[in-house]
Symmetry: none
Subunit: 235 residues, 2 copies
DNA sequence: ACGATCCTTCGGTGAGCACCGAACTGTCGT
DNA sequence: ACGACAGTTCGGTGCTCACCGAAGGATCGT
């Protein structure tokens, strides 16, 4: 028997626009630092500290301290699921053939989607895993780029990851995928890859959401570049 | 793209303990009057009025005016789903074998569960439908008990529904089942039946949530008493 | 050792809001 | 027509809480 106080307490965590914004930002699966989130939400660092404490206390977020940084992240794929369920009430009505459409929409999301600015879902995970051994090193809990990976990226993107970078965003970063329960590739390289995939029409967005579909050109490119075969399909 | 303000606004509706309690009460699918809810939540009628306005405005509840009464009800099965998703975070962890377990858990809920204090799901609907024509009258949108139904209950429960009752809770009441999209039996009789089913071990709770499972004894009882056959199973 | 950076703790301020009682409107029963 | 009852509107009160700036760790780079 769940008490009303429990439910109210959980809801109160999301009832503030700043905290809600923080949670939505974290929906990308990345771990953000406290000040990144403060800047993103447009509040003072001291204010963000308080919010993060409440969210961690409430079990929605987990934190990891690393030197003088405090990284926070959604606690659990179920939290992401919850946030997406809540957000789903605002998306344009799924309408038309109701249940079926909803089911195929969620299937499409599992198949492929953007996560923040990189690829996720089965597509994102497949690309990531194909890159492992082709230039991406998976050293348990983190990714790294080998020289071979660097030249592969230069060939594919015409972009050298070793170029001096402005921001401090890491080149490669693991990002937990909550439909696949595996990591996919985030970070600057993940974003560049996604940009190129979209730019070349290898994947196209389905509607206005985050779901993407692999095109025929994309299938060919994946076969040539990474030696993997995926069917685009569906809807 | 869902804005943080939307999410915060939705969450704020549930972030108050009184409103949360009202929504949980309405999880039984019944339509309550404003003063019933005020009494239930322990606040003044004027306070309840305000809360109900906000909840209706926010789309979580719908209202129906009938004479001097104002009946409110969850707007939609998806609202009930949302409330259950949120509440699920407080039930002891379903754990073990993760994803599969989650799928079977939701299947178990569809199969049989308690709804407030009576039976719901396929089990609840099957029992209700078997009782129709055996003493339960379905006069479109409401149930009523015939004399035959009364003696059936006396035989089965050793409890006479015609006894003077303390509260004002109706004897029988239809309760919309959002997995079956049919009505099942609520009210005092529904509660007594559920109590007896549990007390006799005809159904047992699965874990500590609301899901229940029909036992072998329960299958026999349903066959003898109502002439229906259901398989218990799963998990 | 030094300053820069990240984060935290601590008052203080202001707005929002949950609550009530009292007065009012509408509906029902007799 | 009358009182009883369901619900509403309207001030007024008090608490919670989001926010900031200033000051104080803690850690990093040099």
């Amino acid at each position: 028997m769940t008490s009303a106080a429990d439910l109210a307490g959980l809801a109160a965590l999301l009832a503030d626009e700043t905290r809600a914004g923080i949670c939505l930002a974290l929906l990308d699966g990345r771990a953000w630092t406290a000040s990144e989130l403060a800047a993103y939400a447009g509040v003072a660092p001291s204010t963000a500290t308080g919010h993060l404490h409440r969210l961690v206390e409430g079990g929605l977020l987990v934190q990891r301290r690393q030197g003088r940084h405090r990284y926070v992240q959604l606690a659990d794929p179920s939290v992401a699921q919850l946030l997406e369920d809540l957000s789903a009430r605002f998306e344009p009505p799924p309408d038309r053939t109701g249940g079926l459409r909803a089911a195929t929409a969620s299937a499409a999301l599992r198949r492929g989607r953007t996560c923040y600015d990189h690829l996720a879902g089965r597509l994102g995970v497949a690309v990531t895993e194909a890159m492992i051994g082709r230039g991406l090193l998976d050293n348990g809990g983190g990714f790294a780029l080998t020289p071979a990976g660097r030249s592969w990226l230069i060939d594919l993107l015409g972009w050298d990851p070793a170029w001096p970078r402005s921001g401090r965003r890491p080149l490669v970063r693991g990002c937990l995928d909550w439909t696949e329960r595996r990591e996919h590739l985030g970070g600057l390289v993940g974003a560049k890859l996604c940009e190129r995939f979209l730019g070349h029409g290898w994947v196209v967005r389905i509607g206005s959401g985050r779901a993407v579909r692999l095109t025929a050109a994309g299938q060919a490119a994946l076969r040539d570049q990474l030696g993997i075969t995926l069917d685009g399909e569906g809807v």
